[in-house]
Amino acid sequence: MHVRPLAAPLAVAAAAAGGCVCIWLANPTVPGGILPVCPTKALFGIDCPGCGSLRMIYSLLHLDAAAAVRYNALGVVAVLFLLWAFAAWTYSRLAGRQVRSWQHLRWSAPAALALTLVWFVVRNLGFGPFPALYV
């Protein structure tokens, strides 16, 4: 069965757009909304590496980059890299050949792991400048 090359990227884009609409309407920056609090935060009271991502996306949708970085700086970086991967993937399907993207580089995965773990630790530290990272 021949699947149109753009069908999958369009499906992903539609799902992402739907999520963005939900986040826009639900406004996670106001506490007590319908969107769930991260289970890690709800159960243990600590920030996981992804905490603040909903508010980060909400801020990005409202073109408030400073607030987005404030809510989850690493999340903003992740969004940029995911957009890059999405663009490369879409182009790969259009061109009919594999386009090398950042995730194929040798040190991408260890770097992502290290960044995630460091981010997990520093945003939960209670001294110095680190409490500013807690959301």
């Binding site: 769930p36 590496p49 905490c51 040798r106 995965a109 992502a112 995630t116 773990l117």
Partner: protein, 106 residues
Amino acid sequence: MTYPPPPPSEPPPYGAPQGGYPVQQQPDSNLVWGILCAVLCCLPFGIVSIVYASKVSGLWTQGRYAEAQKASADAKKWAIWGAVAGVVVGVIYAIIAVAGGMYNYS
């Protein structure tokens, strides 16, 4: 208009790009799925997936091809489990939220 070189005599492993690459292609680390899982599902499964993804390249370079393939498959598996767990948690949360709402307003 250029055409890709003729296919190698040995079929490349599943998922490998066609043409222009060596026959033995390093398996995809599935890193994007692990990161997506860690960002969207907010669950440790995404981190486990990234751990496996980070092993793929090193194992492949050392010539431990079977283990590299296994790490790639494990990265994918944990990302999928994380997505499933994220959906399950979301559904449970929605049920609790709806039930709590009905309790509050009854």
